[in-house]
């Protein structure tokens, strides 16, 4: 009845239960945080704009991204994954999301940043629809917790246009 086996078993079960409960509470506490981060993005230059040999449009942009994501960090935040996507509609596709830049923010100290960059991933359309196209730039973020539920949200910025001719 009171053998060492039973005592270890009881202790282990209790420890795991407490740990699981603590993880659940910590994850739930993330819901108390209602963040309001800010972001601005400018397209400072169209580096080149062309039709690829297979007929798809491709464009290269230079971007100025500034954001303040510090409100996203809580005690249960391991990192924030942030990315900027161009989103637009074409006759063929109801939605196109093309990731242009992404980054991993490891801590609150790095969460306010200003970046001047060309697009990290190729901005290629499925087809030839990019001339004169208006598109949204959306800053998405995924909060990765130390444990528990992951959170995601975005800021949509509209009113960006691509040139009417290749260059």
């Amino acid at each position: 009845m009171h053998s060492i086996g039973y005592r270890t078993n009881a202790l282990l079960t209790f420890a795991v239960t407490v740990l699981a409960l603590m993880c659940a509470i910590v994850s739930l506490s993330d819901n108390l945080n209602s963040p309001n981060p800010t972001a601005q993005v400018q397209v400072s230059n169209i580096n080149w704009f062309q039709k690829k040999p297979n007929g798809d449009d491709e464009v290269s942009l230079t971007l100025n991204i500034s954001a303040d994501l510090r409100p996203l960090f809580t005690w249960n935040t391991k990192q924030v994954f942030v990315f900027l996507a161009a989103e637009y509609e074409t006759p063929k596709n109801a939605l196109n999301q093309v990731s242009l830049w992404d980054g991993i923010i490891p801590s609150k100290e790095h969460a306010k940043f200003l970046i001047h960059t060309t697009n990290k991933y190729r901005f290629i359309d499925q087809g030839s629809n990019l001339r004169g196209k208006d598109f949204n730039l959306t800053l998405h973020w995924h909060v990765m917790p130390k444990t528990g539920k992951m959170f995601a949200d975005k800021i949509v910025m509209s009113g960006y246009y691509l040139p009417k001719a290749y260059r």
Partner: protein, 180 residues
């Protein structure tokens, strides 16, 4: 030594009725585990509701040995989501992030491109030969929750099967010999 002979004595002293009770309780444990697993499958809509991260391609977000909880809803797949997908001709599912989405106007079908956060390039090299995009049917679920370290148990068990047999044997012995 005393402990072992006690255990042997307790096995010897088992009554027929007790044996039946033990078998029933063992059966209860196995079936309740099965019920929980199948119940999770129904709730999450994913054929494997929990996966263990096996590679470091999503570091520092997910490390080897972390556990991910999957969910498969009807909602469309969007850029930024972490999905688990199967590639034709590959046994092991991959957990990576969606970086490009193209959703058809007429049929609503999606074509997505994925990339591991810690990898330099996108996943086209991992896909089947000549495959440029993932379709809906490749995707088994999207990751919604995360629990660190727990997956090491299964990694150790698959890599060192001896430990698995010892553990199962010990647990079995414990269930058979316990009197309560």
């Amino acid at each position: 030594m005393g402990w072992i002979s006690d255990q042997i004595d307790s096995i010897k002293s088992l009554q027929f009725r007790q044996v039946i009770t033990q078998i029933v309780s063992l059966g209860m444990i196995v079936t309740s585990a099965l019920i929980i697993w199948k119940g999770l499958m129904c709730i999450t809509g994913s054929e494997s509701p929990v996966v263990v991260v096996l590679s470091g391609s999503m570091e520092p977000g997910f490390k080897r040995g972390d556990i991910l909880f999957l969910h498969m809803s009807k909602e469309p797949i969007r850029a930024g989501e972490i999905v688990v997908f199967n590639v034709d001709g590959r046994e092991i599912p991959i957990v990576h992030r969606v970086i490009k989405v193209h959703e058809r106007q007429d049929t609503g079908e999606v074509e997505v491109l994925t990339k591991g956060d810690n990898n330099f390039g996108d996943d086209r090299l991992l896909y089947a030969h000549g495959q440029l995009w993932l379709q809906r049917h490749h995707i088994m679920g999207r990751a919604v929750g995360f629990l660190p370290y727990v997956g090491w148990v299964t990694i150790i068990m698959t890599e060192k099967p001896i430990i698995k047999y010892i553990l199962i044997g010990a647990l079995g012995l414990l269930v058979i010999t316990s009197k309560e």
